[in-house]
């Protein structure tokens, strides 16, 4: 017996999975560059969110056409992957369709895979047309530069090729066709190849089989570089997303400590700082100017973003021509995080100051100040991302670390400080309305 194909297969598998594991490790390392945040609350609600939103695609279907097509591709993707298990066993042990021994059920399984493959193929073609022919606006906003556009198309091409290969592989498999069970679709494709000799048919089947599985391994490793990463990260992201009312913004604990100290009548303002701490305490930075100031769930979100643009297409600022696009906030965060990650890799695990940061080099003040905190983006996001939380953390940095608020906002804040209202009215006049 010739073991060469088995060995080649094993090598391809090890390389493919090994490289993927390395990417996942890098991904986790990068996400952990974010600050710690407590996500141990509301476990059952979190689980429910994950099941409904990620597994059940509940938010995808709010836009019915895209949602419906996406569900097909998603279900198809998950189910057809059962077939990959068979392919791997066959590849490693030199068997052929090892599961076919289970009898009728095998036919039912492969039959449904074939139907799904056709449905996925159709959906993917429609997706492609929506992007490239109908040119739906949200796929053409300014942050959709060449890479994001190409990325989206590459994914669609990948899926088209994989699905076609799956069908061709079945159609050219003479023993499978003679079984005549489960070849619901491929029986109509088989005649296209009827002129071929037994040998070339076998060669074609083997080629399709190999390209199919190698394609899957390549696709697996493409994920890390692509918005397609959402197929994995949508699950943790929907789990770790905030379970609080959308209007609730966290109260910065570092600020609370200082405020309580200032308001405490017993605190001695001239007291020397406690000396028990021998560690040099770096005062905590308020807000975020770079990705490492964000918390890790925000960084996870950046990698999860599908770049679908649902957020941007409902953002009042973006709809009225402002520079702000919530999708761009997420894409910038991911790009900067990747840059920081590569910097760390290049410098033996230490970040080497590159004189850049998320604020200014990626996201401008003009974008940040255009946000109305309306939560439309958060409501729309099919994978529970809050671009708003990043915008808010960066505003906090601008105001508390750099005193860089627009003048009118500074006036408003001075008024609150002096008069207890955002306008310059006297606090003592607060009840005058009653007698007017």
């Amino acid at each position: 017996m010739n073991y060469l194909p088995n060995i080649l297969f094993a090598i391809a598998l090890v390389i493919g999975i090994g490289y993927f594991v390395r990417n996942v490790q890098k991904l986790i390392r990068n996400i952990k560059l974010g600050k710690d945040v407590d996500v141990s609350d509301n476990k059952s609600q979190r689980l429910k969110n994950m099941i409904n939103i990620a597994l059940g695609q509940s938010k995808m279907v709010r836009r019915p056409i895209a949602g419906f097509l996406h569900v097909i591709v998603y279900v198809g993707f998950v189910i057809i992957n059962i077939e990959v298990l068979e392919i791997i066993i066959d590849g490693l042990f030199g068997t052929h369709r090892i599961f076919s021994g289970i009898g009728n059920l095998y036919g039912v399984l492969i039959g449904s895979f074939e139907i799904l493959a056709v449905l996925v193929l159709i959906s993917v073609v429609v997706f492609w047309a929506r992007r490239n022919i109908i040119k739906i606006k949200r796929f053409w906003n300014s942050e959709m530069t060449s890479w994001p556009k190409n990325d989206a198309n590459y994914i669609l091409y990948f899926e088209m090729v994989l699905m076609s290969l799956f069908l061709i592989m079945n159609a050219t498999d003479t023993s499978f066709q003679t079984m005549d069970s489960g070849n619901i679709i491929s029986q109509y494709i088989a005649p296209w190849f009827s002129g071929l000799s037994e040998n070339s048919l076998h060669l074609l089947e083997r080629t399709a089989w190999w390209i199919h599985i190698l394609g899957i391994l390549v696709f697996l490793n493409y994920l890390y570089f692509s918005k397609h990463l959402h197929i994995l990260l949508a699950f943790p992201n929907t789990y770790y997303a905030s379970t609080k009312p959308k209007g609730q913004l966290d109260n910065l604990e570092s600020v609370t400590k200082e405020v309580m100290l200032m308001m405490d009548p017993n605190a001695d303002p001239f007291a020397a700082p406690q000396e028990t701490d021998t560690d040099e305490e770096v005062p905590e930075k308020f807000g975020a100017s770079d990705v490492t100031d964000l918390n890790w769930t925000q960084l996870l979100s950046a990698y999860t973003c599908t770049e679908c643009g649902r957020c941007t297409s409902s953002c009042p600022a973006n709809l009225t021509g402002k520079k702000l696009s919530p999708r761009k906030i997420m894409m910038d965060t991911r790009d900067r995080l990747e840059e920081v990650g590569k910097n760390i890799d290049a410098n033996k695990g230490e970040f080497n100051n590159d004189g850049k940061q998320l604020l200014g080099d990626y996201i401008t003040k003009e974008e940040l100040w255009a946000c109305t905190t309306c939560n439309a983006c958060v409501e729309e996001c099919p994978v529970s991302i809050s671009p708003l939380s990043i915008i808010m953390d960066m505003r906090r940095y601008l105001v508390m670390e750099e005193s860089a608020a627009p003048t009118e906002l500074n006036n408003m804040m001075t008024n609150i400080e002096n008069n207890g209202a955002p306008w310059p009215y006297n606090q003592m006049d607060r009840l005058n309305w009653k007698d007017e």
Binding site: L249, V255, P316, C374, A421, W433
Partner: protein
Amino acid sequence: MNLKVPTMAECIAEGRQPEILFWVGSAGSYDDRAKKITKAFVKLLNTANIDFAVLGTEESCTGDAAKRAGNEFLFQMQAVTNIEILNAYEVKKIVTACPHSFNTLKNEYPSLGGNYEVFHHTQYLHQLIKDGRLKITTNPFKDKRITFHDPCYLGRANEVYEAPRELLKELGVELVEMKRNKRTALCCGAGGAQMFKEPERGDKDVNVLRTEDALQTNAEVIATGCPYCNTMMTDGVKFKEKETDVKVLDVAELLAADNQDL
């Protein structure tokens, strides 16, 4: 119009604890348009004989605008000051006609030590009607075509979509929805401290876009439940030169219009 507006200090001096505190908010206290909403709401409270009180000169800005502008310090200073007073008066229930105050008091004060049951005025009024404490008599808005603009901090932020609509139904109006409503409602453009600054560069103002949504419904009245939304929509209607055909009114004003001078 003779309004009864007891303050917390007066109530305590008389040795009684009112049923609920009305949080007027900065806009409701000082802004000329918003003051009308405040008074309409008080009129309804008076009509229903509700034992309420206000903080009056002891009330201070909740700090919402400061927080959303990024000034967490100022927000927490305001919050702690307000919480001290509210707790000193042993306040348990609060109602407010401002969704921003509503959101802040309800969601952001608890972790700083302020735990209250907080209602938006539309929720509270709806409850009063359900309990039979407030009665709707003949109303000039009956059968009028009215659309409701969801304030972001009432709707998406806290998922209160039905209370204001239920009130409008009580009035027997013809409620027409804008194409973007409830969860998908478009912001009026005032939130996140935008109210206090010029908009960033763009090709349109948010309030104009939202007003266009509202005008498409051919409603005679744009109803809302937020003093800031009210200002933005009123400006939008003026910009569109439609102020003779379309009014912008708070739900409380619609309810209070049955027997008085609005």
